[in-house]
Amino acid sequence: MAHDEDTTARRLLIQLARLGDLVQSLPAIVSLATRYPHQSLDLLCPAPLVDLARLFPEVGRVIKWNGIRWHTWAESFAGEFQPSCLREVERYLAELTPEPYSIAYVLNHHPRAILAGALLAAEVQGPNLHGPLNHELSPWAVYLRQVAHQRGSNRIHLSDTFCGLCGVNPPRTPPVFIPSTSNLSGDLAEVGTSAGQWVAVMVGAGDADRSIPIEVWSEWISLLLAHESPCGVVLIGSERDQYAALAIQDGLSPMIAGRVWDATGRTTLPQLATLLKRCHWAVGADTGPLHLAAAVGTCAIGLYFSRARVHETGPYGEGHWVWQADCASPAMWPIQASVKMIREPSTIPQQEPVAGWSLWQSSHDEWGAIFRRVDENDPVEDQRAAIWRQLSEQRRPLQGVR
């Protein structure tokens, strides 16, 4: 590539999806920075995620993608094309970057991300091989599509496919970022300050079908806090999860309610990162905050069901756990087993099987994250090395859009 040795080359990574995808882009960021140590790497992400992204390691400038502004332009059109509006768009894009980037890495197979890459950089590397109008996919995008359709025996984590899309290998060690010490207000300042196990519970999920039922959480927390040792639970979620958090607390005995801290809708994302860092464990479905917890080094226990698959989007790093359901809507939940993991970590290898669920632990090697079944009963062979070699051989030269 022409810019490989050019120290003036400016690189831009584009991630316009939600919190979970942004956090799972960290390995690609770190790998790109390692591959091109003397070139700047900037990050374009949605405006609400900018403050968090500024804490990421190896990122130069974080550029805010203002979706609301685009929506306003689109709505002001009310369907009609107004050439004058293009002038405003032009000014806005010039504010983002006066000069185009040398190369943009696009991580989402979404027209907006692809168009943003084409608008902001001279060359684009991502899902499309030949720009926005040509839908021929890059080898890694083809692989991702196959995984989405068939799933099957895939063992390559989404974060590592992001690396593949960017043309770099996974990082040698999983990245961990240290959140700045954000001020936590009121009772949240107490989190993590006293002895005992602090457990972050992810109340909500992006979609309703991926949320763990309220009564499951009430039972889970009741069981955890029934133990004699001091323990604290922090309920994590956004404003829209506040009702669920209240409902969970309603289901708790007043005797233990004093050991529950409700942080739903009360933190900024940097504060959330701080809060999660202060916890010893983070438990929840496949959500952005669970990935954030793993990224700040907190041990995560995922309860994966619905469309969530451990091998694709398990918490990235070493020593995390995932309970994977056999079906989309489990009838029973590994409540006792997962509580026991926190109370008695040493007994994990001897975990009793839970009907309808399997337990997986994460580790990391040269091909990135890998989850291994605790009972060693994984019938699928790890083919990551072969797939990486095969897809790397298919790599093609970059294509500009103009």
């Binding site: 979706g67 685009w70 929506h71 332009w73 689109a74 709505e75 059109f77 009310a78 369907g79 009609e80 094309f81 107004q82 050439p83 004058s84 509006c85 293009l86 002038r87 768009v89 032009e90 894009l93 027209p111 907006r112 168009l115 943003a116 084409a118 608008l119 030949h130 720009g131 926005p132 109008l133 040509n134 839908h135 021929e136 859009v401 103009r402």
Partner: protein, 604 residues
């Protein structure tokens, strides 16, 4: 020099004719009273037209609330002491064109005497004189126009303002060349169903792209619900059914978003759907072709539509406004001359459908009470229509055992009858004492060139003269009037011919639809107005894109120059270059905007 002389001297430099005209007036329209803040305020007939406490602050708040787009001419209705105009001048860019409409120069005299105007007055143009003159002055100020009303002062001149608006609308209508995309949402069944059909046809005849969301296809299922004996179940399911049809409508609208959603009375759009449409920037209008006193569901929908068009005047308009409607206009019924027209009948048809006196319609209470008085006379009376069960006295004259009469038969009856009775429906006895609106039958009979005898209606004189439609004031006078007109065949023919000429000249559905769109065009100059003016056509857009966006201009050049082009079409044209097509930066911007547009219109 007092403030009047100072102001007139300033005005003379800008409009000497107006300054001279003001010197001829005495003023006295306003009662000038100091406000609590010390500046002058004013009253008319004891009502404050500016704040009694702080007129300046009030005017600033009003000005802040007004929309404005670059290039528009702001036309201000309501003069008062001009605090609001001063505030508007302060708020808008100096290049903004502002015209104040002054139907009564005495108010301007009072305003000039009350306080000294500042430099802002040099930015203001005046439209004054006759209604036509004002219309011409406003039109000459430049397009597009945005009409804004300072209501406290305008309220005393509503008739003048309405007349001026009509002149402006006529201007819009005469220049209308752009093609709108309009979705007409019809009812499941009922009297407004044929009106929806006529409206669709009229809009198409005006050159617009019309999609009729015809809910009559759901009528059979809906009627099945009426068979449920348990009223609680029936009402609950009917409500759910209407909700589902509302969702279907939204899905249909989402597939091809129109510029305007025009509902006819009884269309199944419910308030939450209308609110959602507004959030998604759809313009909505309702032509409520019902008697607002009888069907009152408008109360729940008033705030949902951007525009209401009604067939009744003041009391109806104020009731809707009180219920939350923002813009309500009178738009009477009409006829479709391609459907209702003179026909040559065979002798057999004349024998079957013909009579001395006839009536076509449903058996409302007032008709059941009046028609028996028409029996036993020397004339042949034929009664056509349904819902006459129980009216045993009328059985001898009831045709086809009270079967529902279709449009074709109706037209033949109209053409074959010497005297067509046209009694507006009412739930009481005699004629409706509040009878105001004129029903569709009046226009349809006239369009057929058929003679009609109608009960007197308050709004009739503005639509038909006494030499076009014969009216009767009381049921007691009906037999006498029938006898009289049966004896005057030439008079009947002459009146019917005049009535038909009037319909063709003024009262067809294209007339109504043109008026409706003109009003919406004047009220939304940057949307419907601009489309009607043709500024959304490829040629005009290409000129606007010009040198600054040559690639976009070039793509626009691939469309026929008079074809209307939206962002959607432009983006589709760019995408049509195919996988090997090259994209400029402008093309990419257009595609990105279109991505957000497609989400904006996601209604379901």
């Amino acid at each position: 020099m007092n403030s009047f002389e100072t102001n007139i001297a300033r005005l003379t430099r800008r409009d000497s004719a107006l300054a001279a005209a003001l010197r001829q007036r005495e003023g006295g329209a306003l009662e000038i009273v100091p406000a609590r803040t010390g500046v002058m305020s004013a009253r008319i007939n004891g009502r404050w037209i500016h704040s009694a406490y702080d007129p300046i602050k009030e005017a600033q708040a009003w000005a802040e609330g007004q929309s404005y787009q670059d290039g528009e001419t702001m036309v201000v209705f309501g003069v008062g002491l001009l605090y609001h105009v001063e505030a508007l001048c302060a708020r808008l860019p100096r290049t903004a064109s502002i015209v104040v409409v002054a139907p009564d120069l005495n108010v301007v005299v009072d305003a000039a005497a009350a306080r000294v105007w500042g430099d802002w007055m040099d930015r203001v143009s005046w439209a004054w004189g006759t209604t036509e003159a004002i219309g011409e002055q406003v039109a000459a100020a430049g397009q597009p126009l945005r009409l804004v009303t300072y209501a406290p002062a305008a309220a005393f001149y509503t008739d003048s303002h309405r007349a001026i608006e009509t002149v402006l609308q006529r201007g819009v209508a005469s220049k209308a060349g752009g093609q709108l995309s309009i979705a007409v949402v019809g009812p499941i069944y009922g009297g407004s169903l044929p009106i929806a059909r006529y409206a669709v046809s009229a809009l198409e005849s005006l050159g617009h792209r019309v999609r009729w969301l015809d809910h009559s296809v759901h009528a059979t299922s809906y009627h099945q619900l009426e068979l449920l004996k348990n009223s609680q179940h029936r009402l609950a399911l009917q409500s759910k059914y209407a909700e589902m049809l509302s969702r279907i409508t939204m899905a249909q609208l989402a597939e091809d978003p129109p510029d305007l959603v025009l509902s006819l009375a009884q269309s199944p759009l419910i308030l939450p759907a209308l609110e959602h449409l507004r959030r998604k920037k759809f313009l909505t209008a309702m032509w409520f072709v019902e008697n607002y006193r009888h069907l009152t569901y408008w109360q729940q929908l008033a705030a949902g539509y951007d525009f209401w068009f009604v067939i009744q005047q003041e009391s109806c308009i104020s009731a809707l406004k009180q219920a939350g409607a923002k813009d309500v206009r009178y738009l009477p019924m009409a006829a479709d001359p391609s459907v209702h027209r003179p026909v040559d009948l065979t002798q057999a048809e004349q024998d079957e459908y013909g009579s001395d006196v006839s009536f076509v319609g449903a058996g409302y209470a007032n008709r059941r009470e009046i028609f028996p008085r028409l029996l036993g006379h020397e004339w042949i009376f034929k009664l056509w229509g349904n819902e006459w069960n129980g009216a045993t006295g009328l059985t001898p004259v009831l045709q086809r055992n009270g079967a529902r009469i279709d449009t074709d038969t109706c037209q033949k009856v109209f053409n074959a009858s010497a005297v067509n009775l046209n009694l507006h429906s009412w739930g009481g006895t005699g004629f409706d004492p509040d009878g105001d609106f004129v029903n569709p039958r009046t226009f349809e009979l006239a369009a057929c060139g058929a003679f009609q005898l109608t009960d007197r209606r308050a709004l009739m004189p503005a639509l038909f003269t006494e030499s076009e439609v014969a009216t009767v004031s009381s049921p007691d006078d009906l037999p006498g009037e029938i006898t009289r007109w049966l004896r005057e065949p030439e008079g009947r023919v002459a009146m019917a011919a005049q009535a038909r000429r009037r319909v063709l000249a003024e009262h067809t559905y294209p007339h109504r639809m043109r008026e409706l769109l003109s009003h919406i065009g004047v009220a939304s100059p940057d949307r419907i107005g601009s489309i009607l003016r043709g500024t959304r056509q490829a040629g005009a857009l290409a000129s606007a894109a010009g040198d600054a966006f040559p690639s976009v201009a070039s793509t626009l050049g691939t469309f026929p120059s008079t074809q209307r082009v939206e962002l959607k079409q432009l983006a589709a044209q760019i995408r049509s270059r195919g996988p090997m097509g090259t994209l400029s930066r402008e093309d990419l911007m257009v595609l990105m905007l279109d991505e957000y547009r497609s989400e904006t219109k996601d209604l379901v």
